[in-house]
């Protein structure tokens, strides 16, 4: 048995003068406070990585910096899937009894700590160093290729994808920590400047500074813990050039594995936290998981299906598309929001009828690494 006992996301945006360890410290401090625990209560730590602070041993660097001496430490690297994979690893570690109260933490000054070219070039390295990157690729270009295949294969239009950006922005309006909070329209998305057609600027998440952390425990240490019911993963490729089916990437088997371990069906899910680096990422994941019929993710968003009052509220803090994306911590903000929604602590964003069971899904690379988790009120 393991529980998400605490979580915290800093505001995302431009935090001039903040560095990786500083943002990780803010996030860890927030998550510990949310869990009601002290440094000395933590016996395990899992960290990700930071493009602005590459280090062989980030977990122990942070443990020393923050002031904890864990009996379990690990650093994990699965791109955007890292945050949720760290939570899943904590779940496994607790089951194995190697540690009982783990801190999971990430942070990065991805926006202010480097030039935009540096960020773009560093991220493009998820592509093949010999057969893809030398062609002048970027992450938006990899996803632009995927988006063209999605639009063609599903008969959807660019306006359908735009609906997902509009939905995420509408959620961010009430989300004080979000990088972008001004409402946008489908037309705004469609006329925003082309980045990697068919993707425009507003189809893409921003590059942000920020941090996020969670505390995962084997015991219920407070009255707002969520129980981890199941997790799943799928890793079918690294590079987009070798994806056998450009409409199916592994989110299906990953989420089914998590639901099977939880012993529930998709129809039981009342809240979804799904990785949304680009509008097309979100469309493909929602559809492959089964939270939207093929080609219909945008149409459902337009109809309010994923809004706070809808059937399956999704990323109610604004998601990566509007809350922002600072690397590993990016998708961990989805967990912080989800925990608040399920435990009735989401304030102005609280979903009516407080959802009780949620599915999380993260994707890393170019739809390469998939991690899913089902959590619920205990």
């Amino acid at each position: 048995m393991s529980y998400i006992a605490g979580s915290f996301a800093t505001a995302f945006g431009r935090h001039e003068g903040q560095d990786t360890l500083g943002l990780m410290t803010q996030a860890a401090t927030g998550a510990l406070a949310d869990a009601g625990l002290e440094r000395g209560d933590i016996d395990g730590i899992i960290c990700g990585y930071s493009t602005t602070m590459p280090h062989l041993m980030l977990a122990t660097v942070f443990a020393e910096h923050f002031g904890i001496r864990p009996r379990y430490a690990a650093a994990l690297q699965l791109g955007g899937a890292t945050g949720l994979a760290m939570a899943a690893t904590a779940h496994f570690v607790i089951q194995s009894k190697a540690a009982s109260r783990l801190l999971i933490v990430a942070g990065e000054n991805r926006l202010s700590g480097q030039t935009r070219d540096s960020a773009i070039q560093a991220l493009a390295q998820v592509g093949h160093p010999r057969y893809e990157v030398p062609l002048g690729t970027t992450v938006p270009a990899y996803y632009g290729l995927i988006a063209s295949a999605y639009l063609d294969g599903r008969g959807a239009g660019e306006a359908d994808l735009a609906e997902l950006a509009v939905a995420m922005r509408s959620h961010a309006v009430d989300s004080p920590g979000a990088h972008y909070r001004e409402p946008i329209t489908v037309e705004d998305v469609l006329v925003s400047r082309a980045v990697a057609e068919p993707l425009k600027l507003l189809d893409c998440c921003p590059v942000s500074d920020g941090g996020a952390a969670m505390v995962v425990t084997g015991d219920q240490v407070n009255d707002h813990c969520l129980r981890v019911l199941g997790s799943g993963q799928a890793h079918q490729h690294q590079h987009v050039s070798v994806v056998p089916d450009l409409l199916s990437y592994g989110a299906g088997p990953s989420s089914r594995m998590a639901l099977d371990e939880a012993g529930i069906g998709l129809d039981r899910i009342r809240y979804a936290a799904v990785y949304d680096s680009f509008t097309v990422t979100l469309a493909l994941l929602l559809e492959e998981i089964g939270l939207a019929p093929p080609g219909q993710a945008g149409a459902l968003a337009r109809d309010g299906h994923f809004s706070p009052g809808g059937a399956v509220p999704l990323n109610t803090h604004g998601g990566l598309l509007s809350y922002g994306h600072c690397g590993v911590a990016g998708a961990m903000s989805h967990m912080a929001e989800l925990q608040r929604q399920l435990t009735g602590r989401a304030g102005a964003r609280q979903i009516p009828g407080q959802p009780d069971v949620a599915l999380l899904h993260g994707d890393g690379g170019v739809m390469s690494s998939h991690t899913s988790m089902v959590v619920a009120l205990p």
Partner: protein, 116 residues
């Protein structure tokens, strides 16, 4: 194993083929990623195929690529049975039948697909 293809300055796409299990693949390594057999056969591709994905890059990753925007990238399923990423002529669309040419772009030789 150093395959002579566009990545080493030779104007061709090379497909690797396993003499044991018949697997074909593109990203070069000196063994078959399906059965593990070493020493795959190198097959020069005829460079013909069908486009399965396209994007037009407007935001270049670096100074060397900036003067070339907008440029079109594609995924092409070659007749030899592998998928490759490459540049393509402006206006190339999914479903197009294309053939490979090779051009110097941003200081290196790259495959550029044009209508076949």
């Amino acid at each position: 194993m150093t395959v002579a293809d566009w990545t080493t300055g030779e104007p061709q796409l090379v497909v690797l083929s396993c003499g044991g299990c018949g697997n074909v693949w593109y990203f070069h390594r000196p063994f078959c990623p399906r059965c593990g057999r070493p020493d795959p056969d190198e097959v020069a591709s005829a460079g013909r195929g069908r486009v399965v994905a396209t994007t037009v890059v407007h935001r270049a990753p670096s100074d060397e690529w900036r003067p070339l925007v907008p440029y079109t990238l594609v995924l092409v399923d070659l007749d030899e049975g592998v998928r490759v990423m490459a540049h393509a002529a402006s206006g190339t669309a999914i479903g197009d039948t294309v053939g490979a040419t090779f051009e110097e772009r941003a200081g290196r030789l790259v495959p550029v697909f044009t209508p076949a």
